[in-house]
Amino acid sequence: MEKQQSILIIGAGPNNIQHGDEVDSATYQVATYLHRAGVTTILADNNPFSYSLNDSSVIDYSSIGPLTVDHLIALIDQYHPQAILPTLGNRQAFLLTQELMEKGILREKEIKLLGIPEATVRQVNNPILLERTLRRMDAPMKKISTVNNYPDALEEANKLGYPVIIRSVLPKITSTRQIVHDQSELATAVSKCLSQSRAGQVYVQQSLAGYKEIEVVVQRDKSGTMMMLGMVEDMDPIGIHAGDSIAFNPAQTLLDRQIQDMRDVAFAITRKLRIVGINHIQFALDPVSDHFYVIKSSPYFDRMVSFVAQSTGYPIAMVSAQLYLGKTLREIDLGPGFAKHAALVEPVMDHIAARVPVWGFSPEQSQKQLLGTEKKSIGTVFGIGRNPAEALFKAIESRYHEPTDFHLKTQAKLSEDELIDRLVHPHAGRLFSLLEAMRRGYTAYELVEMTKIDPFYFDQLSKMKELIGELIEHPGKEPVLVKAKHNGLSNQLIAKLWETTPKQVYQMMQDHNLTVKYKEVEPSAGEFDQHTQTFYSAYEDENEALTLPQPSALFIGTGGLRLGLSNAGDFFVASMMMQLHRQNYHTIIMNCNPSSVTLNTLIADKRYIEPASAENVLSVVEIDQPQLIFIPASYTNLLETLKKYDLQSKVITLPDDRLGNLKPKSNQLLALDYLWDGNTAKFLTSTAALQSAINLDYEMVNLRLPAEISNAELTQLQNKAQNVIEQQVNPGFYQVVFEQQGMEYKALTIQSVSLPEVAFLSKSLGINLPALLGQVVSDETFNLASVEIPQPRGTAIYRASFPFESLHMKTEETPSPDKVIGAEIQFMD
């Protein structure tokens, strides 16, 4: 192995609509492996919610600072890394890397790039360059030609077949792009785009809309060995952003011939770009002609890579880390639990994973959200089952904390015209409209015609529709209950359809000896005796989940990303898990977000990919008998339900991630933040609200730490605050909020510190606060009073960002804490 003494990892920055939490988990795994190999790891990031950035046990130098080339140069001067890893920071890291290349820094300092050659960085950053390379290697690309008059455009359009896309070459102001559905629309589009073109030319380009979208993840080592790790198929055709589509791994509607052809092209591209590590390639497949086209190649960690890793059980990030250090696949040992050379065995699945998007807004609002080529979802959840419908049912139920009824009643109220409109113009709740259409007697072929969705999915939807129908028709009947459980329906949904309680359904299952089994997500489909300790439920014969040794602690993850929480929830839960892990607890996680850092094998000893419902928690408790169960306060339903059962485990409610509803009169607010263990109120720091630049209506979305107040004032306020904190019953993070009125500070309220703020505080103080809380609640010998809270590393600023622009929402939307999509942290000089 080549020796690399230190490696700079370029982080991903604040979450936004394009990317969420997907790289945090990979970063943590890669950094852990590098660290264990004796490498000094430097992580540059400014995402306050990052778990990796807070873990000094694997990141030697966490550098919180703006993701700009100047800051990176400063870091390079400070730490002298021998190599830079650009694959854990999305596209932005590639752009920054290219800037470093162009400034000559890499050459001057003899810094190597890991995983990606310089030429490839340029190509990934420049679609035109990449397209040229791909055409030169005869990869199938969409057809495109340049013309300068209408007759030529007409000839090209006729050759391509409608619809075609007309675009200006070198557009004058904004890029004009017109979809032309038939000849009658062509002349207008061409003349409009011609007039917009500085070159007097337009592109006539084949439209891929309506084709199948296929995503492939492949892997290559430095010796050229290549493997396919997964092929994921989107249910929705091209025209809807891949991130907004329901997706299945493995692909279900593709012929072997098509799969092998795409595999060959994916390999050829990865070889041509000389990538070491992973590459995610998207294809468009025309189901009629069988032709397929390369859309995009993304040789970095993204949501698809994490989905493939979680759904196959193949430890992609851990393998990539070793590839970056120069190992070949045949030299990689996946460790205990895996067969010899398992790193070289292409993962196969004996289960199906369905991924569904999570929308930013309430279900009612989301229903109306129209989908298109721009991404609208803010996160994903997934479900695993032994048939496609089961996986999909579970995924849908994972989407919200509360049980869903599939919006059956609202759908039933739609008029025929409204329904057709929803089928033809896809919106966020399209799946439910499709079910409703099938209920109303639309045939699969009619729906295929209207939606361009493959007939396979209508077979699945029709099974789902029939099952729901059967349940409604036969309340309380055992055979249909058995069938429903085999297909992944939750007791909550069954209870809703039967108009009874989940507990009654649970009782009925007990009476009929209908017990859940757990199957392992294992990448050889049972061929080898391998164990990943990742499980999903199935109502079948064989159970594979065995009781973990004691002591153990079960954590319920915060699920898919939500506005307001962003991935602060994952940071919080993962930090506590790691603390319990350090206290020799065996950690168990139940979560359904494929990108979550909590599903990391280094943090969780055992993983259940399940929606966090009472029945799932109860079955896991029965198997693992954890001493402690940690549940986020937002799962009110779950917490209530569990109270009704006589559990041997102690349930600990994780701090509320929802926020208080402050309506202060002025914007002169400051808060004193404490950790309270029941005896000691430990002062952490003070925070002050910053005026929001976006909106003058004051909301506590931008923060400054510490607040600018004198020591005398601080002591005075501390005395006041201390009293209030000491009246709290439960341990946790609390803040007392003061409002400045004239020269006076008046105590407004006491509230839990929001999880995003806890994450911000942790980064600013350089201490992992959730881990501290973990110790408070689980270690009786722990003495909080003796803990030294570090001084802030400087003045830290927290700036929240909002998705309004990306979602084209009305500008009068107030930027409030519950709509935050991401945030950045910065230290003032």
Partner: protein
């Protein structure tokens, strides 16, 4: 769907629902871990006498397609799968998998714990006989115990009569031991003029056609039960023309050249094992379907050398003759289903034939 049961000779029973033909079926139960190409697997004649458990959870997603059969009359004894889709993808005239299996009289069982079955087969350490039945009673088990599976599978599935697959390129004789269409497809892509002969064709009958080369096809069962005259044929033919053995053809080529072939404890059917090409040290993936393997220690190094090996079980995956232009592979370089990474072997075969032609 009616309730059906999969019963094993060791007395175990798995419950499921029937699809395809309602007939009672017997066979050796194996599992296949491929995630693609159910139609090609079901129509591969290598599964004569066998009931195949698909570990991929769902099949039938695109119905039956007209251009991907691996044989026209499939001889597989049964299909086991967790979940079945009922899709005919076309508005023209296509069948669902269920309809097709009914037409072909092949029973299937679904909604069954295929992962548990796979674990059972993996741990059994020997091939297990099983049966798909409507009632798992004593009678069914008695019948299963009494059933003797034929060992003359090749004779059953091979073509009784020669037939041509004309082309304009090299002339190739394919000896049919249970031919997989993929072999013909690859030869046809290379424009070969193919004549398919029955498995028991003699060397004289083959050489009389003056072929540029001979392919020994894949096929089902134990190579030891294939007539010994076949081995003589191979020994004679390899001296005269380039020879390419695939699957069972590879095992017969090994036997003809003095190596021994032994049964595997667990049959291997899948496409995800790394296979190393020894001379280049490259790793490739290919469709593998094998119940037998060449015993590496018995390979006579004066005659043969090993060209490919499976990195998981260290088995022999390819052989080449030292004196003659003859080579063979255990895996299926024609894919269907499976990766294309080894289809260059057909080009190599064509090149070998051309070089031989030039030397003449």
């Amino acid at each position: 769907m009616a309730a059906r049961y999969l019963i094993f000779e060791d007395g175990t029973t798995f419950a499921g629902d029937g699809f395809g033909s309602p007939a009672v079926t017997f066979g050796e139960v194996v599992f296949n871990t491929s995630m693609t190409g159910y139609q090609e697997i079901i129509t591969n004649q290598i599964y004569d006498n066998q009931i195949v458990t698909f570990t991929q959870p769902n099949i039938g997603g695109y119905g039956i397609q007209r251009n991907i059969y691996e044989s026209i009359v499939p001889t597989i004894k049964g299909v086991i799968v967790r979940s079945l889709s009922n899709v005919a993808t076309d508005n023209i005239r296509r069948l669902t998998l269920d309809q097709y299996l009914k037409q072909m009289n092949i029973p299937g069982i679904t909604n069954i714990d295929t992962r548990a079955i796979t674990h059972k087969l993996r741990d059994a350490g020997k091939p297990l006989k099983g049966s798909i039945v409507p009632v798992p009673d004593d009678h069914a088990f008695d019948q299963l115990h009494a059933t003797v599976l034929t060992n003359q599978q090749v004779a059953q599935v091979s073509t009784p009569k020669p037939y041509p697959n004309p082309g304009v390129g090299m002339s190739v004789v394919v000896v049919d031991f249970g031919l997989k269409n993929g072999i013909l497809r690859e030869l046809s892509r290379r424009k070969c003029n193919v004549t398919v002969l029955p498995y028991n064709a003699s060397a004289d009958e083959i050489l009389r056609l003056d072929p540029d080369g001979v392919v020994l096809s894949s096929g089902p069962g134990d190579p030891h039960y294939v007539k010994s005259s076949v081995l003589e044929m191979i020994r004679k033919v390899q001296e005269q023309v380039p020879l390419f053995g695939i699957g069972l053809g590879h095992e017969l080529f090994a036997l003809a050249n003095g190596a021994q072939v032994i049964p595997l404890c667990v049959e291997h059917h899948g496409m995800n094992h790394p296979i190393k090409e020894i001379i280049t040290d490259h790793i490739v993936y290919a469709n593998q379907s094998e119940g037998y393997t060449v015993d590496w220690s018995t390979v006579d190094r004066s005659k043969l050398f090993v060209t490919y090996t499976d990195m998981i079980d260290s088995s022999v995956q390819g052989l080449r003759h030292r004196q003659y232009p003859a080579f063979s592979v255990q895996f299926f370089p024609d894919g269907a289903p499976g990766p294309d990474e080894t289809d260059g072997l057909f080009d190599e075969f064509i090149d070998t034939m051309k070089r031989k032609e030039e030397r003449r």
